[in-house]
Amino acid sequence: MSAEFYGLHGLSWIDLLRLAGHFAVLSLLAVGGAITSASDMQRYLVVERGWIDPLQFNASIAIAQAAPGPNILFVALLGWSVAGPLGLLATMVGIMGPSSVLTFVIGRLRHARQDALPVRAFSVGLAPLTIGLLIATGWVLALPSRDHPFALLLVPATALFMLKTARSPLWMIAVGALVGALGGA
């Protein structure tokens, strides 16, 4: 592979640090998992910086959903799309670092009791925010489909499938791929 492959892909070192820094902030804000902050990643990478386009962004999430393993790996793919291996390192260290250190420390403080008022207030007070962020992420992910009626139909169809059946989401991902490949999306 070429030297460029391992290089910065047109970014400066400062850009790379900014990238890691942005994901490090999200790491502590992403209550309810990294997917809740996906809409902000889209805003930063696509709208503010213009490093990747909306379709690349959606492809990263779709590929990570279709593959086995923790969903957080879409963050690795985002970093990869921005700047190859170095980009991957920047986004993954950013998104994993701060939250992991915090978890490590709290995990060792066995006194972190989940029935203590400050802890309960945290999960109660942030629950509506978590759900709101999920709605925002779904909205942002659906946007590239707005000119494709069949693709747009897949959004409520998938939601219904997940609510009404106990089948694996992989079925819907396969349906989505098929509909798209046949030119419907």
């Binding site: 008022l117 309960r120 007070g125 989401p169």
Partner: protein, 198 residues
Amino acid sequence: MTAASVAEPELRQPRSKTELFTAFTWLALQGFGGVLAVAQRELVERLRWLNKEQFVELLSLSQVLPGPNIINLALMFGDRHFGWRGAVVATGGLLAAPLVIVLVLAALYAQFSSVPQVAGALRGMGAVAAGLVLSTALKLAPTLRRNAMGLWPSVAMMVVSAAAIGWLRWPLAWVVLGLGAAGYAWAWYRLSTTDSST
């Protein structure tokens, strides 16, 4: 099996860091669309490294903390058995093999993204991903009825945060710190008044 007559099976422990790594790799590779359900089946039912209560305790702590729940769970579990090295090994087990798979898939996609069928397939999968995320929101939304902050404040907070992030595209940091702090304070107030009245 009758639950009453069977004593709780004895818990086991991971014997080595290698065993810890392989166990988490294996459960990650089975986890399509989320690893948590598989984690319960593997760690509690098959390996018997945790009983149900310990699993729930570890999980709720993982959920309150920022970061992916399953990663937080692996990290704390690994740390309890082999210290910080265990934390690294368990998290590494979760991520290493799936990362390789995801990168291979992404490379294949990049190779063929100019083929209209491939681009179309990915767009279709993207729409499905949107539906998946929305279905999670829809499944969680009814829990707001029992939220101690009250139904209307909770719904208002949900709508405002969704609009601020998804529609107005405000930076997440402002929204979480602003709305989050307000929600936290209100929840604290409501919980402390209900606690003291009972």
